[in-house]
């Protein structure tokens, strides 16, 4: 099958990079006191590194050359001390910068998580949301790699480089200028290689993306592949993708392979330059042997920082692109805002009205048109209609996951936009087809909507939901740990747990999306009885799939293309010989015999 390549992190335009960096730097603000300490440690570390060769050179001229053994030992002791200070400073700066960066990244992750939790449901309905989420996870780790792990090293190297250059210029201006001639050459070469490598590595990332997509898909569908005899074909397809990735990597390696020798060549060139010109200066007496020795050491030393810095530059670019996407998410408007004068929803009676409600997920396309409905307290409303007709949308509007585009949704006569969302949703219970259970104990899962519930309350809810008996039969009862998505509970048992959840909230209004998939007969009976108990005396909106449900409903609403096509009890609608009767007959056609309970 064809796989479209993953979206490769794009690079930002320079001015955008700058503003993203500025915004990132604002995260430094809480560390105002620690940053100067870290910077001084960096300076100290760099200075000790820069000063070493100078002393060695000096010792050659003034101690070794003069035969001063005592002086030499003294200098050695001093050098040792200097290095100890240097090592201490470098360790300190890596620790401090690392810790500051980790705290900033922790804050960033927290910000992202907080944001995601409070984003409006509409954000996740947008098609690009999933893609954005998966990239975000990547982005945070890219930023972590670039800023969390290498920034300390990078800063250290930057300061050393500056220190070395200053030291060189101070010791001997002419020789210093000459040696530094090679720096622009280095930067140019590294930049050139970086650009080539980036192009190559982009291909390797694309091909590895295709490869892993293929891997994931084909591993997930081995049964299909075997059933349809696709095994050899899949192997061949994988072989081709694998080869493409291998070739891309080989090409990337080829560039890396040429890079190091080129740098070595420049290094040798610089050394030769220093030797030639320095030698000339030494012969003519303009410089001493010690100075030339010091320079040779410096030239060796300053190549590493340049290399590291230019590598960091590439890393920093993708990190900035990642940061930019993170900030983009952080700038998303949060959940529907409570009105400034929003009040707390008083305890509900359960009277729900839709008044000429219009709604579209996008402004151009209305999903609901002129919907009017009225559910009296305690009534059961069955919503019926083809997939995509607008049943879920009606539910979304009651919960105010979205705001209407026209008209109004009122509960007990209060427009849902006038009350706080928390107070609204707290009083509405939801039981979905496939209910998400979380890693945690059974008790925690039941108390999901009211974490403060006592154990007695939880047990009472479980009893009403017909799940108490099952839970107590588990070796660890209510303390049984559930895995991801509620494993090892069966689907029916998960439904019972979610019913217990709703019972515990004791809502006046209940939303129920009936399950369609088959569960075993016994559990099914338990679910039915629990639901019947749950619905009693509550206003309920049920997306109905069962005949028993529609026959019991006080009102059946047939939704078609965003409008209420018919409304009435089951018997009335069948008698009417309209859309509903038609659908009913069709279903009977498909199932031959109506099986009602």
């Amino acid at each position: 099958m064809r796989s479209t390549g993953p979206v490769v992190a794009s690079e930002l335009k320079p001015h955008k990079q700058l503003s993203t960096l500025q915004r990132f730097l604002q995260y430094l603000r809480p560390y105002r006191k620690e940053v100067p300490v870290a910077l001084s440690l960096i300076t100290l570390g760099a200075a000790t590194q820069a000063i070493g060769p100078f002393f060695i050179g000096w010792s050659i001229d003034h101690l070794i050359g003069q035969g001063n053994l005592r002086g030499l030992l003294l200098l050695l002791a001093m050098l040792a001390l200097l290095y100890i200070v240097g090592v201490w400073a470098i360790r300190g700066q890596i620790l401090r910068v690392g810790s500051i960066m980790q705290r900033i990244l922790g804050q960033l992750r927290q910000d992202v998580f907080d944001k995601i939790q409070s984003l409006p449901v509409s954000f996740f309905d947008r098609s690009e949301a999933g893609d954005l989420m998966s990239r975000l996870i990547n982005d945070v780790s890219t930023v972590n790699q670039a800023f969390g792990q290498t920034v300390a090293q990078m800063l250290g190297n930057l300061f050393s480089l500056v220190g070395i250059v200053i030291a060189m210029l101070c010791i001997n201006l002419q020789l210093g200028l000459l040696s530094n001639l090679v720096v622009p050459l280095m930067i140019f070469t590294t930049g050139l290689f970086a650009r080539w490598a980036r192009a190559r590595f982009r291909v390797t990332r694309e091909t590895i993306g295709e490869l892993s997509a293929k891997l994931e898909e084909d591993i997930g569908s081995v049964k299909e592949a075997q059933a349809f005899n696709r095994v050899q074909l899949n192997i061949d397809e994988f072989k081709a993708l694998n080869a493409a990735n291998r070739d891309a990597n080989v090409q990337a390696v080829a560039i890396t392979a040429a890079f190091l020798p080129s740098i070595d060549f420049l290094n040798t060139l610089a050394t030769a330059g220093v030797l030639a010109y320095g030698g000339y200066l030494a012969v003519t007496g303009a410089a001493t042997v010690g100075v030339v020795t010091a320079f040779l050491l410096y030239v060796q030393q300053f190549f590493r920082p340049i290399q590291i810095l230019s590598q960091f530059y590439t890393q920093a670019q993708s990190a900035l692109a990642g940061l930019d996407r993170i900030f983009l998410l952080l700038d998303e408007p949060a959940e529907l805002k409570d009105a400034p004068d929003a009040t707390t929803m008083p305890p509900m009676q359960g009277d729900v009205r839709f008044e000429a409600v219009e709604f579209g997920y996008t402004p151009s396309q209305l999903v609901l048109k002129q919907v009017n409905l009225h559910a009296q307290p305690g009534q059961m409303i069955a919503l019926v209609g083809p997939t995509g007709a607008g049943k879920s949308t009606i539910i979304n509007l009651i919960l105010r996951f979205y705001d209407v585009s026209g008209g109004g949704v009122k509960i007990d006569g209060v427009d849902v936009r006038r009350v706080t969302q928390a107070s609204l949703r707290r009083q509405i219970g939801i039981v979905l087809q496939d209910n998400l259970l979380f890693t945690g104990t059974v008790a925690e899962n039941i108390a999901f909507g009211c974490p403060n519930a006592t154990h007695a309350e939880i047990e009472a809810a479980a009893q009403l939901a017909n799940v108490h008996e099952f839970v107590t039969s588990l070796p660890q009862g209510y303390a049984t740990q559930l895995g991801e998505r509620g494993a090892p509970l069966s689907q029916g048992q998960r439904q019972l747990v979610s019913i217990a959840r709703a019972v515990l909230i004791n809502p006046r209004i209940l939303i129920l999306d009936e399950a369609t998939s088959s569960i075993d007969t016994r559990t099914e009976a338990l679910v039915q009885a629990a639901i019947a108990r749950l619905l009693k005396h509550r206003t309920s909106f049920v997306i109905a799939h069962r005949l028993s449900t529609v026959t019991q409903a006080d009102q059946v609403l047939v939704i078609q293309q965003g409008q209420i096509a018919e409304q009435g009890t089951h018997a009335e609608l069948v008698a009417k010989q309209g859309v509903y009767a038609n659908l009913y007959a069709l279903q009977l056609g498909a199932d031959a015999t109506p099986v009602a309970r």
Binding site: S3, G220, F228, V558, L586
Partner: protein
């Protein structure tokens, strides 16, 4: 060290300054590789651990493979026999199938009915050899399925899974999953028979519409019809249908039923349906009723209604959930 000892040596006259400088440079050259080795050691340890896991997979034994004298499976007479078949999933201690025996007639439509975990899906795993029977034998026209080459056996067995996997690619590629070289006409014919052609041509990109992870989403009913089209395009002569429909509206259900009927009558010699619908059960020539790994009853709908209390219970549990819409 070098500067100290070397410096002293130079002062003593045993060493020249030039030698000292050279020595110093060597020192730097030596240090770098040592550092690199230090960095590489943990990476090598990690790599070794990962390599071990990779080899675990690579070395895993393939239990189901062609026998040395395997023959290609060519024509199907329609006589499928289970001979005292017992089966235990690898690693499990309990038998999923216990001593199951039956034989089908050519062109029969068999519905298999049972609760979750009764073994009805397991029966269907043994026919295309996703697993081999622990005891007993599965035969087609008297020949053990283990005597056929896997590729030929599976190419003649059409399977419609309960869950349809869509692959990232175009609709055309998805329908032609088993036969990538199929012409567009063949693909269209299959889609027409599966009642999908109309829907597909209404899409802006028609058969070239991308589906799967990055493409358009299809509803459960549409996916199932894609799966039917996929199977229609193969050279199946034995059909296995896991007919558990997800929530679909009545119109879609009728379309699926229509597509299934074509699937069952087009090229098959024998069809097995893991049944969920009353209509399927009623149309079946025989119904196999499974309970806890055993084949507890078989017969027509009417016969079972009369003789098997379990039949009524199961039928109700599976069908009653389907309300008018």
């Amino acid at each position: 060290m070098v500067v100290g000892y070397g410096g002293a040596a130079v002062i003593d006259g045993r060493f020249s300054i030039g030698e000292l400088v050279a020595f110093n440079s060597y020192l730097l050259l030596i240090l770098q590789p040592i550092l690199l080795i230090g960095f590489a050691a943990p990476a090598i340890a990690q790599a070794a651990a990962s390599a071990e896991r990779v080899y675990e997979v690579v070395d895993a034994a393939i239990e189901i493979r062609d026998r040395p004298q395997a023959v290609p499976f060519q024509t199907c007479g329609g006589r499928i026999t289970f001979e005292n078949v017992s089966f235990r999933y690898p690693g499990s201690t309990i038998y999923a199938l216990k001593d199951v025996s039956f034989e089908t007639q050519p062109n029969e439509l068999i519905a298999i009915l049972g609760m979750t975990g009764s073994g009805k899906s397991t029966i269907m795993n043994l026919l295309p050899r996703f697993y081999d029977a622990t005891q007993g034998a599965v035969r087609i026209d008297g020949r053990d399925v283990r005597d056929f080459t896997l590729a030929s056996l599976r190419s003649r067995i059409g399977i419609v899974f309960q869950e349809t996997t869509l692959f990232s690619g175009t609709l055309r590629e998805n329908i032609a999953y088993a036969k990538p070289e199929a012409s567009l006409d063949d693909v269209i014919d299959a889609a027409k028979a599966a009642q999908m052609h109309e829907f597909i041509t209404a899409l802006p990109n028609g058969y070239e519409t991308l589906v799967g992870e990055r493409g358009v989403g299809l509803s459960g009913g549409q996916k199932q019809r894609i799966a039917i089209a996929r199977t229609l395009l193969t050279d199946y002569s034995i059909l296995i249908l896991d007919d558990s429909t997800s929530a679909v509206d009545a119109k879609t259900a009728a379309q699926i039923q229509d597509a299934l009927d074509r699937l069952m009558h087009q090229k098959t010699c024998t069809s097995f349906v893991i049944a969920q619908r009353i209509s399927t059960v009623q149309n079946a020539d025989r119904i196999f009723l499974m309970d806890k790994g055993r084949l507890v009853a078989q017969g027509t709908h009417d016969e079972l209604m009369r003789h098997s209390p379990l039949y009524g219970v199961i039928l109700e549990s599976q069908v009653k959930q389907k309300a008018p819409v």
